[in-house]
Protein backbone atom coordinates (compact mmCIF):
# COMPACT_ATOMS: atom_id res chain seq x y z
CA UNK A 1 0.00 0.00 0.00
CA UNK A 2 1.12 3.48 -0.79
CA UNK A 3 1.89 5.26 2.48
CA UNK A 4 1.67 8.74 1.08
CA UNK A 5 -1.90 8.28 0.00
CA UNK A 6 -2.72 6.49 3.25
CA UNK A 7 -4.99 9.10 4.68
CA UNK A 8 -6.82 10.40 1.67
CA UNK A 9 -10.38 9.24 1.75
CA UNK A 10 -11.70 7.98 -1.55
CA UNK A 11 -15.20 7.05 -0.55
CA UNK A 12 -17.32 7.69 2.48
CA UNK A 13 -20.77 6.32 3.15
CA UNK A 14 -22.58 8.11 5.90
CA UNK A 15 -25.61 6.87 7.81
CA UNK A 16 -26.87 4.72 4.96
CA UNK A 17 -30.21 3.02 5.45
CA UNK A 18 -31.77 0.81 2.81
CA UNK A 19 -34.89 -1.27 3.03
CA UNK A 20 -36.96 -3.37 0.70
CA UNK A 21 -40.51 -3.17 1.94
CA UNK A 22 -40.23 -4.48 5.46
CA UNK A 23 -36.71 -5.88 5.11
CA UNK A 24 -34.04 -3.59 6.52
CA UNK A 25 -31.04 -4.53 4.46
CA UNK A 26 -28.88 -1.70 5.85
CA UNK A 27 -29.46 0.46 8.89
CA UNK A 28 -27.45 3.58 9.58
CA UNK A 29 -24.17 2.25 8.21
CA UNK A 30 -21.17 4.58 7.98
CA UNK A 31 -17.58 3.88 7.03
CA UNK A 32 -14.93 5.12 4.69
CA UNK A 33 -12.46 3.70 2.23
CA UNK A 34 -9.00 5.23 1.91
CA UNK A 35 -7.13 5.61 -1.29
CA UNK A 36 -4.97 2.61 -2.08
CA UNK A 37 -6.18 0.29 0.63
CA UNK A 38 -7.77 -3.14 0.58
CA UNK A 39 -10.94 -2.72 2.57
CA UNK A 40 -12.88 -5.86 3.41
CA UNK A 41 -16.54 -6.06 4.27
CA UNK A 42 -17.43 -9.18 6.20
CA UNK A 43 -20.46 -10.49 8.01
CA UNK A 44 -22.80 -13.48 8.16
CA UNK A 45 -25.16 -14.35 5.30
CA UNK A 46 -27.81 -11.73 4.70
CA UNK A 47 -25.87 -9.13 6.70
CA UNK A 48 -26.20 -6.60 3.89
CA UNK A 49 -22.72 -6.78 2.39
CA UNK A 50 -23.81 -7.13 -1.23
CA UNK A 51 -26.48 -4.50 -0.67
CA UNK A 52 -23.73 -2.13 0.45
CA UNK A 53 -21.79 -2.65 -2.79
CA UNK A 54 -24.99 -2.16 -4.74
CA UNK A 55 -25.50 1.15 -2.99
CA UNK A 56 -21.95 2.21 -3.80
CA UNK A 57 -22.21 1.47 -7.50
CA UNK A 58 -25.73 2.78 -7.82
CA UNK A 59 -27.78 -0.38 -8.29
CA UNK A 60 -29.68 0.33 -5.08
CA UNK A 61 -30.79 3.76 -3.95
CA UNK A 62 -30.77 4.10 -0.17
CA UNK A 63 -33.67 5.79 1.59
CA UNK A 64 -31.31 7.67 3.88
CA UNK A 65 -27.72 8.69 4.10
CA UNK A 66 -25.10 10.08 1.75
CA UNK A 67 -22.31 8.76 -0.40
CA UNK A 68 -19.22 10.89 -0.86
CA UNK A 69 -17.01 9.70 -3.68
CA UNK A 70 -13.90 11.63 -4.67
CA UNK A 71 -15.11 14.61 -2.67
CA UNK A 72 -18.54 14.69 -4.25
CA UNK A 73 -21.45 14.14 -1.93
CA UNK A 74 -24.71 12.63 -3.16
CA UNK A 75 -27.71 10.88 -1.76
CA UNK A 76 -27.50 8.17 -4.39
CA UNK A 77 -25.27 6.94 -7.15
CA UNK A 78 -26.33 6.15 -10.70
CA UNK A 79 -24.74 3.05 -12.24
CA UNK A 80 -23.27 4.84 -15.24
CA UNK A 81 -22.03 7.71 -13.05
CA UNK A 82 -20.28 5.18 -10.87
CA UNK A 83 -18.74 3.48 -13.89
CA UNK A 84 -17.59 6.74 -15.44
CA UNK A 85 -16.24 7.80 -12.06
CA UNK A 86 -13.94 4.78 -11.99
CA UNK A 87 -15.94 2.31 -9.93
CA UNK A 88 -15.84 -1.20 -11.37
CA UNK A 89 -17.15 -4.37 -9.84
CA UNK A 90 -17.63 -8.10 -9.95
CA UNK A 91 -20.70 -9.96 -8.83
CA UNK A 92 -21.41 -12.60 -6.23
CA UNK A 93 -23.15 -14.70 -8.86
CA UNK A 94 -21.02 -14.32 -11.93
CA UNK A 95 -22.60 -11.84 -14.33
CA UNK A 96 -20.71 -12.28 -17.57
CA UNK A 97 -21.99 -11.86 -21.10
CA UNK A 98 -22.31 -15.55 -21.71
CA UNK A 99 -22.63 -15.47 -25.45
CA UNK A 100 -19.44 -13.46 -25.92
CA UNK A 101 -15.82 -14.54 -25.91
CA UNK A 102 -13.44 -13.81 -23.06
CA UNK A 103 -11.86 -11.11 -25.18
CA UNK A 104 -15.17 -9.38 -25.95
CA UNK A 105 -16.25 -9.57 -22.34
CA UNK A 106 -13.10 -7.83 -21.21
CA UNK A 107 -13.40 -5.35 -24.08
CA UNK A 108 -16.81 -4.28 -22.73
CA UNK A 109 -14.91 -3.28 -19.61
CA UNK A 110 -13.23 -0.60 -21.75
CA UNK A 111 -16.63 0.91 -22.49
CA UNK A 112 -16.06 3.99 -20.37
CA UNK A 113 -12.61 4.53 -21.87
CA UNK A 114 -13.89 4.67 -25.40
CA UNK A 115 -15.74 7.62 -26.77
CA UNK A 116 -15.81 7.61 -30.56
CA UNK A 117 -19.28 8.14 -31.93
CA UNK A 118 -21.76 5.90 -33.59
CA UNK A 119 -21.02 7.23 -37.06
CA UNK A 120 -17.35 6.22 -37.05
CA UNK A 121 -18.12 2.98 -35.35
CA UNK A 122 -20.78 1.99 -37.79
CA UNK A 123 -18.13 1.99 -40.49
CA UNK A 124 -15.30 1.01 -38.15
CA UNK A 125 -12.90 3.40 -39.79
CA UNK A 126 -10.65 6.29 -38.85
CA UNK A 127 -10.68 7.30 -35.22
CA UNK A 128 -12.94 4.46 -34.15
CA UNK A 129 -10.60 1.86 -35.58
CA UNK A 130 -7.60 3.46 -33.93
CA UNK A 131 -9.44 3.58 -30.64
CA UNK A 132 -10.45 -0.04 -30.99
CA UNK A 133 -6.84 -1.10 -31.54
CA UNK A 134 -5.51 0.93 -28.62
CA UNK A 135 -8.06 -0.56 -26.30
CA UNK A 136 -7.49 -4.06 -27.58
CA UNK A 137 -3.86 -3.58 -26.67
CA UNK A 138 -4.79 -2.64 -23.14
CA UNK A 139 -7.07 -5.63 -22.88
CA UNK A 140 -4.24 -7.89 -24.02
CA UNK A 141 -2.23 -6.67 -21.04
CA UNK A 142 -5.11 -7.58 -18.77
CA UNK A 143 -5.27 -11.02 -20.39
CA UNK A 144 -1.55 -11.44 -19.87
CA UNK A 145 -1.82 -10.25 -16.28
CA UNK A 146 -4.52 -12.79 -15.47
CA UNK A 147 -2.80 -15.53 -17.48
CA UNK A 148 -5.86 -16.36 -19.55
CA UNK A 149 -4.34 -16.27 -23.04
CA UNK A 150 -5.54 -19.77 -23.75
CA UNK A 151 -9.21 -18.84 -23.44
CA UNK A 152 -9.09 -15.55 -25.30
CA UNK A 153 -11.53 -16.66 -28.00
CA UNK A 154 -13.61 -19.10 -25.93
CA UNK A 155 -17.24 -18.16 -25.25
CA UNK A 156 -17.31 -17.58 -21.50
CA UNK A 157 -20.39 -19.74 -21.07
CA UNK A 158 -18.18 -22.73 -21.82
CA UNK A 159 -15.54 -21.92 -19.22
CA UNK A 160 -15.27 -23.59 -15.84
CA UNK A 161 -16.43 -21.59 -12.87
CA UNK A 162 -13.02 -20.53 -11.58
CA UNK A 163 -12.00 -19.12 -14.95
CA UNK A 164 -15.30 -17.28 -15.33
CA UNK A 165 -14.55 -15.49 -12.08
CA UNK A 166 -11.16 -14.57 -13.46
CA UNK A 167 -12.68 -13.21 -16.66
CA UNK A 168 -15.11 -11.17 -14.60
CA UNK A 169 -12.19 -9.68 -12.69
CA UNK A 170 -10.56 -8.98 -16.04
CA UNK A 171 -13.59 -7.09 -17.25
CA UNK A 172 -13.50 -4.94 -14.11
CA UNK A 173 -9.74 -4.36 -14.43
CA UNK A 174 -10.10 -3.31 -18.05
CA UNK A 175 -11.91 -0.22 -16.83
CA UNK A 176 -8.71 0.87 -15.04
CA UNK A 177 -10.83 1.40 -11.94
CA UNK A 178 -10.04 3.78 -9.14
CA UNK A 179 -12.24 1.74 -6.84
CA UNK A 180 -12.73 -1.96 -7.43
CA UNK A 181 -15.65 -3.68 -5.74
CA UNK A 182 -15.29 -7.45 -5.44
CA UNK A 183 -18.24 -9.44 -4.19
CA UNK A 184 -16.94 -12.80 -2.99
CA UNK A 185 -14.40 -13.26 -5.78
CA UNK A 186 -13.21 -16.57 -4.32
CA UNK A 187 -16.49 -18.20 -3.45
CA UNK A 188 -16.64 -21.80 -4.60
CA UNK A 189 -13.01 -21.98 -5.66
CA UNK A 190 -10.50 -24.64 -4.77
CA UNK A 191 -7.37 -23.82 -2.85
CA UNK A 192 -5.18 -23.27 -5.88
CA UNK A 193 -7.70 -21.02 -7.58
CA UNK A 194 -8.06 -19.03 -4.38
CA UNK A 195 -4.32 -18.54 -4.16
CA UNK A 196 -4.21 -17.31 -7.73
CA UNK A 197 -7.10 -14.95 -7.13
CA UNK A 198 -5.53 -13.53 -3.95
CA UNK A 199 -2.33 -12.97 -5.88
CA UNK A 200 -4.16 -11.10 -8.64
CA UNK A 201 -6.03 -8.95 -6.14
CA UNK A 202 -2.90 -8.06 -4.22
CA UNK A 203 -0.95 -7.36 -7.40
CA UNK A 204 -3.72 -5.13 -8.70
CA UNK A 205 -3.58 -3.22 -5.46
CA UNK A 206 0.19 -2.97 -5.37
CA UNK A 207 1.09 -2.48 -9.00
CA UNK A 208 -1.70 -0.15 -10.06
CA UNK A 209 -2.57 1.39 -6.69
CA UNK A 210 -6.20 0.38 -7.15
CA UNK A 211 -8.36 0.77 -4.08
CA UNK A 212 -10.25 -2.42 -3.37
CA UNK A 213 -13.44 -3.13 -1.46
CA UNK A 214 -13.68 -6.85 -0.91
CA UNK A 215 -16.47 -9.04 0.37
CA UNK A 216 -15.15 -12.44 1.35
CA UNK A 217 -16.17 -15.27 3.62
CA UNK A 218 -12.79 -16.97 3.85
CA UNK A 219 -11.38 -15.38 6.99
CA UNK A 220 -7.81 -16.45 6.39
CA UNK A 221 -7.85 -14.61 3.06
CA UNK A 222 -9.46 -11.55 4.61
CA UNK A 223 -6.98 -11.39 7.46
CA UNK A 224 -4.14 -11.93 5.01
CA UNK A 225 -4.78 -9.28 2.45
CA UNK A 226 -6.91 -6.51 3.97
CA UNK A 227 -5.69 -3.28 5.46
CA UNK A 228 -8.94 -2.63 7.29
CA UNK A 229 -12.12 -4.58 7.82
CA UNK A 230 -15.67 -3.47 8.44
CA UNK A 231 -18.12 -5.96 9.91
CA UNK A 232 -21.86 -5.95 9.22
CA UNK A 233 -24.50 -7.98 10.99
CA UNK A 234 -28.22 -7.75 10.38
CA UNK A 235 -27.67 -4.62 8.31
CA UNK A 236 -25.76 -2.78 11.03
CA UNK A 237 -22.08 -2.07 11.41
CA UNK A 238 -20.76 -3.88 14.47
CA UNK A 239 -17.03 -3.36 14.10
CA UNK A 240 -14.44 -1.53 12.04
CA UNK A 241 -10.66 -1.62 12.20
CA UNK A 242 -7.51 -3.51 11.34
CA UNK A 243 -7.79 -7.27 10.92
CA UNK A 244 -6.28 -7.78 14.38
CA UNK A 245 -8.69 -5.39 16.04
CA UNK A 246 -11.66 -6.93 14.34
CA UNK A 247 -10.60 -10.44 15.19
CA UNK A 248 -10.42 -9.50 18.87
CA UNK A 249 -13.76 -7.72 18.90
CA UNK A 250 -16.34 -9.42 21.14
CA UNK A 251 -19.42 -8.56 19.06
CA UNK A 252 -17.72 -9.95 15.97
CA UNK A 253 -17.00 -13.18 17.74
CA UNK A 254 -20.63 -13.31 18.91
CA UNK A 255 -22.00 -12.59 15.45
CA UNK A 256 -19.91 -15.34 13.92
CA UNK A 257 -20.66 -17.84 16.64
CA UNK A 258 -24.35 -17.06 16.20
CA UNK A 259 -25.15 -15.65 19.65
CA UNK A 260 -28.84 -14.79 19.56
CA UNK A 261 -29.94 -11.22 19.04
CA UNK A 262 -32.76 -9.70 20.94
Amino acid sequence: MNDRAQDQILLEVDAISLSFGGVHALTDVSFDIRKGEVRSIIGPNGAGKSSMLNVINGFYHPQQGTITYQGQKRSQMKPHEAARGGIARTFQNIALFRGMSTLDNIMTGRNTQMSKGLFWQALRIGPALREEIENREFVEHVIDFLEIQAIRKTPVGKLPYGLQKRVELGRALAAEPTLLLLDEPMAGMNLEEKEDMSRFILETNEEFGTTIALIEHDMSVVMDISDRVVVLDYGRKIADGTPEEVRANQSVIDAYLGVSHD
Binding site: N57, F59, P79, H80, A82, A83, R84, A88, R89, F91, A95, L96, F97, R98, G99, M100, D104, M107, T108, G109, R110, N111, T112, M114, K116, L118, Q121, A122, L123, R124, A128, E131, E132, N135, R171, A175
Partner: protein, 310 residues
Protein backbone atom coordinates in the same frame (compact mmCIF):
# COMPACT_ATOMS: atom_id res chain seq x y z
CA UNK B 1 -33.62 -26.63 -70.65
CA UNK B 2 -36.10 -23.83 -70.99
CA UNK B 3 -37.90 -25.29 -68.05
CA UNK B 4 -34.76 -25.08 -65.91
CA UNK B 5 -34.24 -21.45 -66.79
CA UNK B 6 -37.78 -20.74 -65.84
CA UNK B 7 -37.27 -22.38 -62.45
CA UNK B 8 -34.12 -20.33 -62.02
CA UNK B 9 -36.02 -17.14 -62.73
CA UNK B 10 -38.66 -18.07 -60.18
CA UNK B 11 -36.01 -18.84 -57.60
CA UNK B 12 -34.22 -15.57 -58.25
CA UNK B 13 -37.32 -13.51 -57.99
CA UNK B 14 -38.12 -15.41 -54.78
CA UNK B 15 -34.68 -14.57 -53.45
CA UNK B 16 -35.34 -10.88 -54.07
CA UNK B 17 -38.58 -10.98 -52.13
CA UNK B 18 -36.75 -12.97 -49.52
CA UNK B 19 -34.17 -10.21 -49.14
CA UNK B 20 -37.00 -7.85 -48.29
CA UNK B 21 -38.43 -10.23 -45.71
CA UNK B 22 -34.98 -10.72 -44.31
CA UNK B 23 -34.47 -6.98 -43.87
CA UNK B 24 -37.68 -6.58 -41.94
CA UNK B 25 -36.96 -9.66 -39.86
CA UNK B 26 -33.50 -8.29 -39.15
CA UNK B 27 -35.06 -5.18 -37.62
CA UNK B 28 -37.15 -7.43 -35.40
CA UNK B 29 -34.16 -9.49 -34.28
CA UNK B 30 -32.07 -6.46 -33.37
CA UNK B 31 -34.67 -5.04 -31.06
CA UNK B 32 -35.62 -8.40 -29.67
CA UNK B 33 -32.04 -9.29 -28.82
CA UNK B 34 -31.24 -6.05 -27.11
CA UNK B 35 -34.43 -5.47 -25.17
CA UNK B 36 -36.53 -8.59 -25.36
CA UNK B 37 -39.25 -6.58 -27.03
CA UNK B 38 -41.17 -8.13 -29.89
CA UNK B 39 -41.63 -5.03 -32.00
CA UNK B 40 -44.90 -5.32 -33.82
CA UNK B 41 -44.35 -1.88 -35.35
CA UNK B 42 -41.36 -2.92 -37.45
CA UNK B 43 -43.35 -3.08 -40.69
CA UNK B 44 -44.95 0.27 -40.03
CA UNK B 45 -41.49 1.71 -39.46
CA UNK B 46 -40.58 0.68 -43.00
CA UNK B 47 -43.73 2.28 -44.32
CA UNK B 48 -43.13 5.43 -42.33
CA UNK B 49 -39.57 5.69 -43.59
CA UNK B 50 -40.67 5.27 -47.20
CA UNK B 51 -43.35 7.91 -46.75
CA UNK B 52 -40.91 10.38 -45.23
CA UNK B 53 -38.44 9.79 -48.02
CA UNK B 54 -41.14 10.30 -50.64
CA UNK B 55 -42.08 13.51 -48.91
CA UNK B 56 -38.57 14.92 -49.20
CA UNK B 57 -38.43 14.01 -52.87
CA UNK B 58 -41.77 15.08 -54.30
CA UNK B 59 -43.39 18.39 -54.91
CA UNK B 60 -46.69 17.46 -53.32
CA UNK B 61 -45.03 16.78 -49.94
CA UNK B 62 -44.91 18.79 -46.75
CA UNK B 63 -41.31 19.62 -47.18
CA UNK B 64 -41.93 21.30 -50.55
CA UNK B 65 -44.89 23.26 -49.28
CA UNK B 66 -42.84 24.49 -46.29
CA UNK B 67 -39.56 25.33 -48.00
CA UNK B 68 -40.46 25.59 -51.67
CA UNK B 69 -37.90 23.06 -52.90
CA UNK B 70 -37.31 19.30 -52.83
CA UNK B 71 -34.19 17.50 -51.70
CA UNK B 72 -31.92 15.60 -54.05
CA UNK B 73 -31.78 11.88 -53.37
CA UNK B 74 -28.35 11.94 -51.75
CA UNK B 75 -29.62 14.40 -49.14
CA UNK B 76 -33.11 12.99 -48.78
CA UNK B 77 -31.86 9.60 -47.64
CA UNK B 78 -29.68 10.90 -44.77
CA UNK B 79 -32.49 13.27 -43.83
CA UNK B 80 -34.88 10.36 -43.62
CA UNK B 81 -32.33 8.42 -41.60
CA UNK B 82 -32.17 11.39 -39.22
CA UNK B 83 -35.93 11.30 -38.91
CA UNK B 84 -35.81 7.58 -38.09
CA UNK B 85 -33.22 8.26 -35.40
CA UNK B 86 -35.33 11.06 -34.02
CA UNK B 87 -38.30 8.73 -34.02
CA UNK B 88 -36.30 6.13 -32.10
CA UNK B 89 -35.40 8.73 -29.54
CA UNK B 90 -39.03 9.79 -29.15
CA UNK B 91 -40.13 6.20 -28.76
CA UNK B 92 -37.53 5.59 -26.06
CA UNK B 93 -38.48 8.78 -24.25
CA UNK B 94 -42.21 8.44 -24.43
CA UNK B 95 -42.79 4.69 -24.30
CA UNK B 96 -39.91 2.43 -23.39
CA UNK B 97 -38.52 4.44 -20.53
CA UNK B 98 -41.74 4.10 -18.60
CA UNK B 99 -42.25 0.46 -19.32
CA UNK B 100 -38.76 -0.96 -18.73
CA UNK B 101 -39.67 -3.00 -15.71
CA UNK B 102 -42.96 -4.25 -17.14
CA UNK B 103 -43.78 -7.70 -18.44
CA UNK B 104 -42.84 -8.54 -21.99
CA UNK B 105 -46.47 -8.89 -22.97
CA UNK B 106 -47.11 -5.30 -21.94
CA UNK B 107 -44.20 -4.10 -24.02
CA UNK B 108 -45.54 -6.12 -26.92
CA UNK B 109 -48.92 -4.45 -26.54
CA UNK B 110 -47.18 -1.12 -26.45
CA UNK B 111 -45.60 -1.81 -29.82
CA UNK B 112 -49.00 -2.74 -31.25
CA UNK B 113 -50.24 0.62 -30.03
CA UNK B 114 -47.18 2.23 -31.56
CA UNK B 115 -47.94 0.57 -34.88
CA UNK B 116 -51.41 2.04 -34.96
CA UNK B 117 -50.18 5.47 -33.93
CA UNK B 118 -47.51 5.51 -36.64
CA UNK B 119 -49.87 4.23 -39.27
CA UNK B 120 -52.46 6.84 -38.36
CA UNK B 121 -49.82 9.53 -38.27
CA UNK B 122 -48.57 8.51 -41.70
CA UNK B 123 -52.06 8.58 -43.11
CA UNK B 124 -52.70 11.96 -41.58
CA UNK B 125 -49.43 13.51 -42.69
CA UNK B 126 -48.94 11.98 -46.09
CA UNK B 127 -52.29 10.69 -47.24
CA UNK B 128 -53.16 7.13 -48.17
CA UNK B 129 -52.76 7.09 -51.93
CA UNK B 130 -50.10 4.96 -53.63
CA UNK B 131 -46.95 6.99 -54.19
CA UNK B 132 -44.37 6.01 -56.80
CA UNK B 133 -40.93 6.15 -55.22
CA UNK B 134 -38.15 6.85 -57.68
CA UNK B 135 -34.68 7.33 -56.30
CA UNK B 136 -32.94 6.67 -59.58
CA UNK B 137 -32.54 2.92 -59.40
CA UNK B 138 -32.58 1.79 -63.04
CA UNK B 139 -35.75 0.03 -64.04
CA UNK B 140 -36.41 -2.87 -66.31
CA UNK B 141 -34.56 -6.08 -67.00
CA UNK B 142 -30.82 -6.43 -66.71
CA UNK B 143 -29.37 -6.69 -70.21
CA UNK B 144 -26.29 -8.28 -68.85
CA UNK B 145 -28.17 -11.19 -67.27
CA UNK B 146 -30.32 -11.51 -70.35
CA UNK B 147 -27.32 -11.64 -72.68
CA UNK B 148 -25.02 -13.82 -70.69
CA UNK B 149 -27.41 -16.28 -69.08
CA UNK B 150 -30.59 -15.67 -71.00
CA UNK B 151 -32.25 -14.85 -67.70
CA UNK B 152 -34.86 -12.21 -67.00
CA UNK B 153 -33.87 -10.36 -63.84
CA UNK B 154 -35.00 -6.88 -62.81
CA UNK B 155 -32.18 -4.41 -62.29
CA UNK B 156 -33.96 -3.22 -59.18
CA UNK B 157 -33.75 -6.70 -57.75
CA UNK B 158 -30.01 -6.85 -58.27
CA UNK B 159 -29.57 -3.47 -56.59
CA UNK B 160 -31.79 -4.52 -53.72
CA UNK B 161 -29.82 -7.70 -53.13
CA UNK B 162 -26.50 -5.89 -53.27
CA UNK B 163 -27.68 -3.18 -50.90
CA UNK B 164 -29.00 -5.73 -48.45
CA UNK B 165 -25.74 -7.66 -48.57
CA UNK B 166 -23.70 -4.54 -47.87
CA UNK B 167 -26.00 -3.58 -45.03
CA UNK B 168 -25.73 -7.01 -43.45
CA UNK B 169 -21.95 -6.97 -43.67
CA UNK B 170 -21.74 -3.55 -42.08
CA UNK B 171 -24.10 -4.63 -39.32
CA UNK B 172 -22.10 -7.79 -38.68
CA UNK B 173 -18.86 -5.84 -38.32
CA UNK B 174 -20.60 -3.23 -36.22
CA UNK B 175 -21.94 -5.85 -33.84
CA UNK B 176 -18.82 -7.97 -33.58
CA UNK B 177 -16.03 -5.45 -33.58
CA UNK B 178 -17.07 -2.11 -32.17
CA UNK B 179 -17.67 -0.77 -28.71
CA UNK B 180 -21.32 0.00 -29.31
CA UNK B 181 -21.88 -3.34 -30.98
CA UNK B 182 -20.43 -5.09 -27.97
CA UNK B 183 -22.50 -2.93 -25.67
CA UNK B 184 -25.59 -3.97 -27.59
CA UNK B 185 -24.74 -7.62 -27.20
CA UNK B 186 -23.87 -7.01 -23.57
CA UNK B 187 -27.27 -5.54 -22.87
CA UNK B 188 -28.89 -8.47 -24.61
CA UNK B 189 -26.96 -10.86 -22.36
CA UNK B 190 -27.10 -9.31 -18.91
CA UNK B 191 -28.60 -5.93 -18.01
CA UNK B 192 -26.93 -5.60 -14.60
CA UNK B 193 -23.49 -6.47 -15.80
CA UNK B 194 -23.91 -4.08 -18.72
CA UNK B 195 -24.83 -1.31 -16.31
CA UNK B 196 -21.79 -2.05 -14.19
CA UNK B 197 -19.42 -1.40 -17.08
CA UNK B 198 -21.11 1.92 -17.70
CA UNK B 199 -23.41 1.05 -20.56
CA UNK B 200 -26.42 3.28 -20.39
CA UNK B 201 -29.59 1.39 -21.24
CA UNK B 202 -31.43 4.47 -22.49
CA UNK B 203 -28.77 5.20 -25.04
CA UNK B 204 -28.53 1.62 -26.15
CA UNK B 205 -32.23 1.45 -26.76
CA UNK B 206 -32.18 4.61 -28.81
CA UNK B 207 -29.35 3.11 -30.82
CA UNK B 208 -31.09 -0.20 -31.39
CA UNK B 209 -34.27 1.46 -32.46
CA UNK B 210 -32.31 3.80 -34.70
CA UNK B 211 -30.52 0.90 -36.33
CA UNK B 212 -33.81 -0.89 -36.78
CA UNK B 213 -35.25 2.30 -38.18
CA UNK B 214 -32.47 2.53 -40.73
CA UNK B 215 -32.84 -1.11 -41.69
CA UNK B 216 -36.55 -0.35 -42.09
CA UNK B 217 -35.66 2.60 -44.29
CA UNK B 218 -33.65 0.38 -46.60
CA UNK B 219 -36.50 -2.12 -46.75
CA UNK B 220 -38.95 0.73 -47.39
CA UNK B 221 -36.87 2.15 -50.23
CA UNK B 222 -36.59 -1.19 -51.99
CA UNK B 223 -40.20 -2.15 -51.60
CA UNK B 224 -41.38 1.35 -52.45
CA UNK B 225 -39.28 1.46 -55.60
CA UNK B 226 -40.77 -1.80 -56.71
CA UNK B 227 -44.44 -1.45 -55.99
CA UNK B 228 -44.84 2.13 -54.84
CA UNK B 229 -45.28 3.38 -51.30
CA UNK B 230 -48.59 2.15 -49.96
CA UNK B 231 -50.08 0.79 -46.79
CA UNK B 232 -49.69 -2.80 -47.82
CA UNK B 233 -46.02 -2.23 -47.10
CA UNK B 234 -46.70 -2.51 -43.39
CA UNK B 235 -48.13 -5.95 -44.05
CA UNK B 236 -44.76 -7.44 -44.93
CA UNK B 237 -44.25 -7.31 -41.19
CA UNK B 238 -46.69 -10.17 -41.00
CA UNK B 239 -44.45 -12.20 -43.29
CA UNK B 240 -41.55 -11.48 -40.98
CA UNK B 241 -43.17 -13.56 -38.27
CA UNK B 242 -42.80 -16.90 -40.10
CA UNK B 243 -39.31 -15.82 -41.08
CA UNK B 244 -38.44 -15.39 -37.42
CA UNK B 245 -39.94 -18.71 -36.51
CA UNK B 246 -37.77 -20.30 -39.16
CA UNK B 247 -34.60 -18.47 -38.33
CA UNK B 248 -34.89 -18.12 -34.58
CA UNK B 249 -35.80 -14.92 -32.83
CA UNK B 250 -32.32 -14.02 -31.67
CA UNK B 251 -30.26 -14.93 -34.69
CA UNK B 252 -29.13 -12.41 -37.26
CA UNK B 253 -28.00 -15.06 -39.77
CA UNK B 254 -31.27 -16.84 -39.01
CA UNK B 255 -33.27 -13.81 -40.09
CA UNK B 256 -31.40 -13.67 -43.36
CA UNK B 257 -31.51 -17.37 -44.21
CA UNK B 258 -35.12 -17.60 -43.01
CA UNK B 259 -36.10 -14.65 -45.18
CA UNK B 260 -34.52 -16.19 -48.25
CA UNK B 261 -36.06 -19.60 -47.67
CA UNK B 262 -39.54 -18.16 -47.31
CA UNK B 263 -39.12 -15.85 -50.25
CA UNK B 264 -38.01 -18.63 -52.57
CA UNK B 265 -40.32 -21.22 -51.05
CA UNK B 266 -43.48 -19.27 -51.57
CA UNK B 267 -42.65 -18.30 -55.15
CA UNK B 268 -41.73 -21.83 -56.14
CA UNK B 269 -44.78 -23.23 -54.35
CA UNK B 270 -47.04 -20.72 -56.06
CA UNK B 271 -45.76 -21.54 -59.51
CA UNK B 272 -45.53 -25.30 -59.25
CA UNK B 273 -48.13 -26.22 -56.66
CA UNK B 274 -50.46 -23.24 -56.92
CA UNK B 275 -52.43 -24.60 -59.89
CA UNK B 276 -53.32 -27.78 -57.99
CA UNK B 277 -54.54 -26.10 -54.81
CA UNK B 278 -56.31 -23.26 -56.48
CA UNK B 279 -53.79 -20.44 -56.33
CA UNK B 280 -53.00 -17.80 -53.69
CA UNK B 281 -50.61 -20.30 -52.16
CA UNK B 282 -48.12 -17.48 -51.98
CA UNK B 283 -50.19 -15.86 -49.26
CA UNK B 284 -50.23 -18.70 -46.79
CA UNK B 285 -47.28 -20.92 -47.71
CA UNK B 286 -45.01 -19.08 -45.25
CA UNK B 287 -47.36 -19.71 -42.37
CA UNK B 288 -47.65 -23.37 -43.17
CA UNK B 289 -43.89 -23.72 -43.21
CA UNK B 290 -43.66 -21.85 -39.91
CA UNK B 291 -46.27 -24.12 -38.40
CA UNK B 292 -44.26 -27.15 -39.43
CA UNK B 293 -41.20 -25.62 -37.85
CA UNK B 294 -43.03 -24.87 -34.62
CA UNK B 295 -43.90 -28.54 -34.42
CA UNK B 296 -40.50 -29.98 -35.24
CA UNK B 297 -37.89 -27.40 -34.40
CA UNK B 298 -39.40 -24.68 -32.20
CA UNK B 299 -36.08 -22.93 -31.61
CA UNK B 300 -35.72 -22.27 -35.35
CA UNK B 301 -32.72 -22.98 -37.52
CA UNK B 302 -30.23 -20.91 -35.56
CA UNK B 303 -32.10 -19.81 -32.46
CA UNK B 304 -31.26 -20.56 -28.85
CA UNK B 305 -34.43 -20.42 -26.85
CA UNK B 306 -37.52 -18.50 -27.83
CA UNK B 307 -39.99 -19.69 -25.30
CA UNK B 308 -38.55 -17.87 -22.35
CA UNK B 309 -38.53 -14.47 -23.93
CA UNK B 310 -41.76 -14.18 -25.90
Amino acid sequence: MAFDLFLLEVVISGLMTGVMYALVALGFVLIFKASGIFNFAQGVLALFAALALYDFLSEDGWFFSLFGFTLPVWLAIPATAAIMIFLAWIIERSVLRFLVKQDQIILFMATIGLAFVLEGLGDLLFGSDVKPLNIGIPQGASDWALDTFNLYIEKLEIVAAATAAVLVIILAIFFQKTRIGRALRAVADDHQAALSVGVSLDKIWVIVWSVSGIVALVAGIMWGSKSGVQFSLSLIALKALPVLILGGFTSVPGAIVGGLIIGVGEKVAEVYLGPYVGGALENWFAYMLALAFLLFRPQGLFGERIIERV
